[in-house]
Structure formats: C-alpha cells, structure tokens
C-alpha cells in the first residue's frame, strides 16, 4: 500500500495515497464541515459532487481553495482547514446558500434535524450580507412525500439515491444555473413519476426540501374521538430506532417503552405488526412451499423464483419497471396490510366493533407504507384497512407532544391477541430477515423435522446482493437477497432473462432493510447507526421464547378460529393481493 505523508493544521498524518483530505483530517481528529457530501460507508453509497463548497480548505501552493471531500492527499501536502481565508470563504459560501433559502426555520418540519441549520450555527452566521432574489418553485404533495424545493440546496443526495442507488429515476437535476433544482420530469408532481415512495430521498435530504406527509394530526383527532376504537400496530424496525429520537444510543431496544408510550397516548389497543409478520410467513412460506413442491414434481407452469412482497416500495418498483414479472412475486400482502383486515374483520368483529368505528394506525419505519395503506384494493367501501401510517419520526413527535418523558417509562407488553409475535417476525426489519423467517418455517413444514439452529447466518449481512444455498434435508434451496432497489434490479434482470438460479428472492427497498427505511430517525450518513439497529433486531430475536412463526400460539388460534388454513379461501380474500401494471403511466394527461 502506497502511503503518503502530509500535514493538516500543523499535524503530520500518514494515509493511503487515494485518501481524500476530508478522510485524512478525520483520522487525526479534524472534522472539516461538509454539506453536500454524504456517505453510507457499509453500503458503498457515496455522494460527492463537490458542489456546496463548504468543505474548502487551503492547500499551500495551490491557486484556489480545494474541496476536502473530493481532493486527494498528495506527498508533502500542507493543508490548512481554518485559516482566515478558508473561514471567510466558507462563511461567505454558506451565507450565499442561506440567501437563497427561505428563513422559515421556526416552522420548518426539519427544524432541529436540519444540516443547513446546524451548519449556520456552527459557522456562526449572524446576518446575511448578500441578499437578493430567491428561487421559488411549486410545492408538491404526494401520498407520502412533500417536496418544498425552495429549500433545496442542490446537494444532489436525493438525485444520487433515486438514480444511482435505487435506479428509480423519478428525480433529476433540471434547469440550469440559479433555477437549477432537483425535480421529477417536467417538474410535475412526484405522484406522476415512477417514484416508489421508498423515502430514501427524504432520509438523506439535509434540509426541509423533502419531508414526509404528516398524518399525526389525523391520529390525534381519532384518539380524541370517543366513537372510535383506535388500534395501533408497530413495525419491527421501529423498536430498534425510536430511542434515537430521545437521545438513546443507536441500537437501543425500546420495545417496552414504546408500548407504554402508545398506551399513554391513548391508543385503545397496542398491537404489533410482528403478529402480522408471523401471519405473512404462514401465507408466503406456504406459497413458497406450494410452488416449490409443484416445481419439483415437474409442473412447468409454476413460477420460480418466488419474490417476497412485504415491501411496498419494492412492490411499486416492480409495478413500474417489471410489469411482465407481476406473477412472480408472492401474492401475500405486506404485514401492515395483513394486520388491517385481521384487526377490522376478525378482532373488531369479535368485540362487536363496526369497521367504520375502528381506526387502525400503523407505526412504520417507512414512507411507502403511507401510500400502501391508501391503495384502493386495500379498502372496503372506501374504508381503508389501515387508516393512517405514521413514521418512526412522527411517533417520536407525538410522544413529545403528549409531554411523555419517554426514557423514564416502564416497559410494558403488547395487548393480545394481535400483540404476540415470534423472533422470526422481529427480523423482518433487517435485510435477509424475511427470507430467514420464511426458511425457519418452510424447513420444518417441508422436511417435517425440527430445525435445531434457527439462525441462518449465511442470509445475514449488509452486502448489496447476497446469495446462499440452504440444505432442506438434502434439497438444496437457492436464496437470493437484495436490499436497495438498484440491487434488486440486477436480480430482476436475471429473472427476466431466465438466468436466475434462485428458488426464492427477498427484496427490501431500503439499504439495510426496514431499519434503514425512509421513515426512521435520520442517520445523517452514519452507517454505524444502521448496523447497530440491525444488531438490536437480532438481539430481540434471540431473546424471544418462540422464534418460528408457525409456533406462534395466537397465529395457530387465528387459523383455527377464523382463517382455516394458509392459502385457504378466507386467506385468499383477506391476506392476498394482486398487482397493477404502472409502466404505461405518463406524466401528461
């Protein structure tokens, strides 16, 4: 390895030759401020347009200032990161950015989480000497995401996420110069675009230009309405991240406190999406087994691989991009949407509550869920199975609004019957988790043998595309896993070309799976946060007394009392869905 010696702020440092000044400085405790630069190290995601120019530093002998994020070190380089020249330039550049940014901090959804705000504080901007015209654009509200691009600072992170990482292509830099901005084609609404609502653009936006649609007010109103029974379900990934909003370390599990908080917020029943995840395994796992068995018997009609369908961003993605593969994914609804009808048609009916009087709220790490619960096929006479989907961030906001001191809450348990879940359901939050959970059940159902070691370590990890071959008692089962839609596209293209060797493929739209979802607390590019959440999820699984979905006693009871058998008629009606070709969609009417 070629090493290079240089000096930064008078301190000598020796680094590998292709290191940037930014990274070299970090090694010796010098944090050069950045704005457009963004990195999720463990997912190979990097945004380095060199555009904001906040990270400029002085390199002795160089004519102009150098952007630390995209300038490599060189032998005997002498770098100064805080000379008068640098400080003046850096502050002036920030003043310029602020001069084209609405001064709406007090009412901005991103206030407190805004990287631009933090930067202004950090650099001590106290007035704006350069003022003038501000670029303004139309506001755009979609079912999940709000674009207020007046606040866009053109860091291009969202564009990178949408195109390079997710290959969705909903956003692009458009126009030029002062009017340049990131937008969908023809600057139309996001709703007209192939946007999947994965929310990754929101999760990386440094400002309030991209935010989620906020449903917390609707939820507050429902809770205040005595005629409504309000039921809440919490997705597995939420419990591993919610604590971050209250200053707890990433990876702190707050399941019990979360339940307690929800109860104090006034929800009538605090249930768990994990229950529905177990249910998903029953249906999806059975479908896998069914297709597999038929395939092994030589049925040429059967479609393999089977693709998971719990992720609404992913569903949107293949509806837009791979309409010809619509019969390949499992028809099983996502856990959120399985929960809805079970709550309203089973639990509600048992209690004698009319579905109109039951409000189902979901707490999700996800923004696509906001869209998913509004899909027409998930409504009965206009009444949605799931009324509102809140993000982890919105829940934290609700808790704060209700004056609840989260950290001092006692741990409480979910309500029954829809609160009971297994370890298999918990790991739905991580990439590889759904397929692992499915395999735990499928193995036992297929082989009739007890699975001694429930952890399939070969399915875990953060590599973009993973594959493993599992031994189902002599039958090799090929599993493919992708997280991030760009990675999914690669697997899909193989399926399309008939080259796929897999029996089953799990796909999650977000990096890391739901733990890295668009509705989670902002990780600000720290992939360690995502790793800690993943670890917490596996800890939660390990601590569960039951770790296979088919062993969940309430699931067994649900089938006995209500559903009959997996893939049965009732299941088909309530728990399965179909897909729509959205590739023909056009921006213009």
């Amino acid at each position: 390895m070629d090493m290079v010696k240089l000096t930064i702020d008078g301190k000598p440092v020796e680094v590998e030759k292709d290191t940037t000044i930014l990274k070299a400085a970090k090694l010796i405790g010098i944090d050069i401020p950045t704005l457009c630069y963004f990195q999720l190290k463990d997912m190979n995601i990097e945004n380095r347009p060199g555009g904001c120019r906040i990270c400029v530093v002085e390199v002795v002998g160089r004519r102009n200032l150098a952007p630390a994020c995209s300038t490599n070190v060189a032998k005997d380089m002498v770098v100064n990161t805080h000379s008068i020249r640098v400080l003046n330039a850096r502050r002036t550049v920030l003043e310029l950015i602020l001069s084209d940014h609405p001064a709406e901090c007090l009412t901005c959804a991103k206030s407190g989480n805004c990287e631009l705000q933090t930067m202004a504080q950090q650099l001590g901007v106290r007035e704006l000497p350069y003022q003038g015209e501000q670029s303004t654009y139309r506001k755009d509200t979609s079912p999940a995401i709000i674009r207020d691009v007046d606040k866009c600072i053109l860091c291009r992170r969202c564009e990178m996420m949408c195109n390079d990482v997710q290959t969705v292509g909903a956003l692009s830099a458009v126009n030029r110069g002062f009017m340049a901005v990131v937008a969908p084609a023809f600057e139309m609404n996001l709703e007209k675009s192939p946007c999947t609502y994965c929310g990754q653009c929101v999760s990386v936006c440094p400002t309030g230009a991209l935010t989620e649609v906020d449903h917390s007010r609707n939820v507050i109103n429902s809770l205040a309405d005595p005629s409504k029974t309000v039921v809440v379900q919490t997705a597995p990934a939420v419990r591993a991240a919610l604590g971050e909003e209250f200053g707890l370390d990433p990876g702190t599990l707050v399941t019990g406190k979360m339940v307690a908080a929800l109860r104090r917020l006034g929800f009538d029943y605090v249930f768990d999406t994990d229950f529905a995840a177990d249910l998903t395994i029953m249906e999806e796992g059975s479908e896998l087994l069914d297709r597999l068995t038929r395939y092994l018997k030589g049925d040429k009609q059967v479609k393999l691989p089977i693709l998971t369908s719990c992720c609404p961003g992913w569903v949107n993605f293949f509806e837009h991009n791979f309409p010809e593969l619509m019969d390949v994914p499992s028809t099983a609804k996502s856990p959120q949407q399985m929960f809805g009808p079970i709550a309203k048609e089973y639990f509600g009916k048992k209690l004698g509550i009319d579905r109109k009087n039951m409000i189902v709220v979901s707490i999700m790490p996800c923004l696509a869920k906001k869209y998913e619960c509004q899909r027409d096929e998930f409504k009965v006479n206009g009444d949605p199975d799931v009324n509102y989907s809140l993000s982890t961030r919105e829940l934290a906001h609700l808790i704060k609004l209700a004056n609840i001191d989260f950290n001092s809450l006692p741990d409480e348990d979910f309500d029954n019957p829809l609160g009971e879940s297994t370890g298999a359901a918990v790991i739905f939050a991580n990439t590889g988790g759904v397929i692992e959970a499915a395999c735990r059940t499928a193995y036992e159902l297929y082989t009739g043998k007890k699975l001694e070691k429930v952890e399939f370590n070969e399915l875990r990890g953060l590599e973009n595309v993973r594959h493993a071959t599992l031994d189902f008692d002599g039958l090799p089962i090929n599993i493919g896993i992708a997280h991030g839609l760009g990675n999914a596209r690669k697997l899909l293209e193989d399926v399309q070309a008939g080259k796929s060797q897999f029996h089953a493929i799990e796909i999650m739209a977000c990096p890391g799976g739901c733990i890295g979802g668009g509705g989670q607390p902002f990780h600000h590019g720290d992939s360690e946060v995502i790793k800690q959440r993943a670890a917490a999820i596996y800890r939660e699984d390990a601590g569960k007394p039951i770790r296979k979905s088919h062993e969940n006693p309430f699931i067994i009871k649900l089938y006995e009392e209500f559903l009959g058998k997996p893939l049965g008629e009732k299941s088909h009606h309530l728990l399965h869905t179909h897909y729509f070709d959205k590739s023909k969609g056009t921006y213009i009417e």
């Binding site: 195109n163 956003l171 692009s172 937008a183 084609a185 023809f186 600057e187 192939p194 921006y587 213009i588």
Partner: protein, 159 residues
C-alpha cells in the same frame, strides 16, 4: 401539461431516429437535436418516447433538455427572431434593438406572438461580429441592425 397526442406516424419516425443512433443513451443529445429539427420543439410526449427508446428515465431526458439553451419545449413562431447579445453586438447597441423588437411585436423574450407568426429569443454570438448588431429571422441573418430598422424587418414577413 396538455397532451398534444403525436400521430402514430410521428412516433414511428421518432423511434426510427432513436434507432439510427442505436438506441444508445450516450447519443441522447444527438437524438434530441434530430427530434427538434423534425418537430420544431421538444414537447413532453416526445421526451417520454425518447426516454423509453433509449432506456433512460424521463426525468433524465427532461434534465438534459432544460440544461441546454438550444432545446425548447415551446413551439417557436413561424418566423423565429433571435437577437444576438454577444459582446460585440452588445457594445454596438443590440439591447436597443431587442427593446424595439419587444415593443413592435408586443412580446417578451421567450414568447410567441398571438398569431403564432413571430417568436423572440436571444442568443450569444453567431460569429458574425463584423456585422454587429446581428438579428436572425429563421436562418436569415440581418447585419448592422438599428432600432429604426426593426419595423422594416418585421414588415418583410408581413406584419
């Protein structure tokens, strides 16, 4: 955005254009040039077809179209008038000529007259600095244009 509804024939023609560039997305700008020369402008529909043929996102195509000043999404007038605002023309009074065109045609830069006859745009240097200030009507170049001469130029095209 209203749909103009391209005829099947036009769409086929457009697809042929894309094909002639091997549907290579690297040729996007060449394709757009060709498309604009055929259709006169680049309406949204057309960009959607091109995006599909070249297998790129529509947003990408739009991003490229809006980056380059040569590309336009609005139909130009029957006689597009361009005033050169290059430096040589500027110092020889091109601004006054532009003002006069705006006054005579009662349109702003980037607009098309109500009867669709004239549209007004500015450009930077056609390289005929010796004739500054220079005005183009369609492909025809008018040199040494004075504000007084503006009316005559417009009159040539029957207005």
């Amino acid at each position: 955005m209203a749909k103009i509804k391209l005829s099947e024939k036009k769409i086929e023609e457009l697809k042929e254009v894309c094909k002639s560039f091997n549907n290579d997305k690297g040729e996007l700008i060449n394709v757009l040039h060709k498309a604009q020369s055929i259709f006169g402008y680049l309406p949204a529909e057309l960009q959607e077809v091109i995006a599909k043929e070249l297998n790129v996102s529509v947003a990408h195509v739009y991003g490229v179209v809006t980056f380059y000043s040569f590309f336009t999404m609005t139909p130009k007038g029957e006689h597009p008038i361009s005033i050169c605002l290059g430096t040589a023309c500027y110092v020889r009074g091109a601004e006054k000529v532009l003002e006069e065109f705006k006054r005579v045609l009662k349109i702003q830069v980037g607009e098309t007259s109500a009867d669709g006859k004239f549209s007004l745009s500015c450009l930077r240097c056609v390289g005929a600095c010796g004739l500054a200030p220079v005005v183009l009507v369609g492909e025809k170049v008018y040199g040494r244009v004075s504000p007084e001469g503006v009316k005559d130029i417009v009159a040539e095209y029957g207005n």
